[in-house]
Amino acid sequence: MTVASLELDLEVFSGPFDLLLTLVLREEIDLLEVQLAEIVIAYLDHLEARGELDLDVATEFLVLIAALLELKSRLMLPREDDELADFEPGEAAEELLARMLEAQRYRRAAEHLAARLAGEEGVRYRRAPLPPSLRSTNLAEAGAVYSPRRLGAALGSLLRVPAQLRVGHLSDPRVTTAERLAHLRRLLLRGATTFDEAVRGADRVTVAVTLFALLELYKQGEATWIQAEPFGDIAISPASRPAAVL
C-alpha cells in the first residue's frame, strides 16, 4: 500500500488520496472545503486496521499532509508571509475594504434575486406530457442539425492528456528514513548528540524525516532523547543496550 492509494471518504470527496491531491492542484476541489483532519483520521484508521507502521509510507504521508496544511493556511491567510510585510497598514486596510465591498455588492445582488424569486411565487408553468398525436418524433422528418465533428472534437479534448502539473513544491523527499537512521547512528557512535546537531543545515523535509528516524531509534531501543523545555534543543544519547543489528 502507498499513501497515494489511501481511500478517503470525505464530505467533499471520495476516492484515493492522490486523486484528491490532483483535484486540489487543478482547482477542481477547493482546498478550503477539505477537512484535513478527516484525512489524518482516515490514515490513522488505516494504520489501526493494519496493526503495523510502515515507516516509509508514514513519512510520505506526513510530508504530503504537511504540504497540504501549509497550502491551506496560505489560502486562509492569503497575504501573510510574502506580501503583508510590504503592505503599509493603510494598504492592507484598503485591500480588505475592496474585498468587503465586492462581497457586499454580491450580497445585495443576492437579496435582489431572492426577492425576485419570491415575487414570482404563485406563477406556475404547466408541466404535462404532449398529447399522443404529437408525442412520436417522425424520424423521416429529422434532419442533420449537428456536425459529427463536434463529437470528434469533444472526444479529442478528452483524449488529450493535460499538461503535467508541477508538484515539486509539494514533495520530493530525496531523503529516506534509512539514510537519516544511518546518519543518526553515525553521530551516536561518537557518543551523545543533539537534534540541532543532527539536522544542521538541513531543509525542512530532512528535519521531518530525521525526527521520524529518531522515533524509530527510540522504538528500537537504540537511543533516548530529552527535551528540557518546549522549543529547546533535544539531547540524544545512545541507549545503554547495544544497538540492534542493522
Binding site: 406556475r124 470528434g152 472526444l155 483524449l159
Partner: protein
Amino acid sequence: MSELARIIEALLFLSPDPVSADELAQATACESDEVAAALAELDRAYAPGARGLQLKRVAGGIALATDPVAEEASRRLLAKPRTPPLTPAQAETLAIVAYLQPVSRPEITRIRGVAAESASATLEERGFIEEAGRSQFGAVLYRTTDLFLKLFGLDSLKGLPSVAEWDPSPEEQADLRDRLLRAGEQRAGDASPAA
C-alpha cells in the same frame, strides 16, 4: 371573470389530468354550487371558436385541451426533435457514448473526471441516447439511437470522424476505450507526487 372562475382556469391549466368538480371544490374551499357557477362562466368564455383552448368534459372530470384549429401548427412546433445547441458537458457525454457504446454511466464519469448525471438525463430525454441493458455490475448501459444518427447526418456509427484527427498519437480504434480511460485517469490522477 370572477375570481373563482380565474382560479379554476389556472387549476385546469396546471393539471395534466382531468379534474373532477369535487376536487375543484376542495382545492378552492368553495361549495359545489359555487364551483358549478364558475364552470358555467368558464364555459361561456371558452365558447366554441372563441379561443385556442377548449373546456372539455372527459372521463372523470374537466380538462383544458387545444382546439383542433392548432393541430397543424402544433405538429410543426412540437412533433420534431428538440435540438438546442449542445452544452460542453452534453457534447462530451454524447461523444463518449457514441464512440464507446454500450457504456455505463460510472465509466462516463471516470473518463470525464466529473459526473455526467444531468447531461445524460437530458440526452436521454431528447432521444439521443437510450438504455441498452445493464453491465455485469448492474449499472445502466447507454447507446445512441437512430434519432442520433439522423440528427448528426450519419448513415451508421462508422461515419463518426476518426479520432486520429484530434488525438496526437493515432492508434487503433480498438483501444480507444483504454486510451480514454488512461487519459481520464491521468487528468484526474497522474499528478500524484513522485514520492
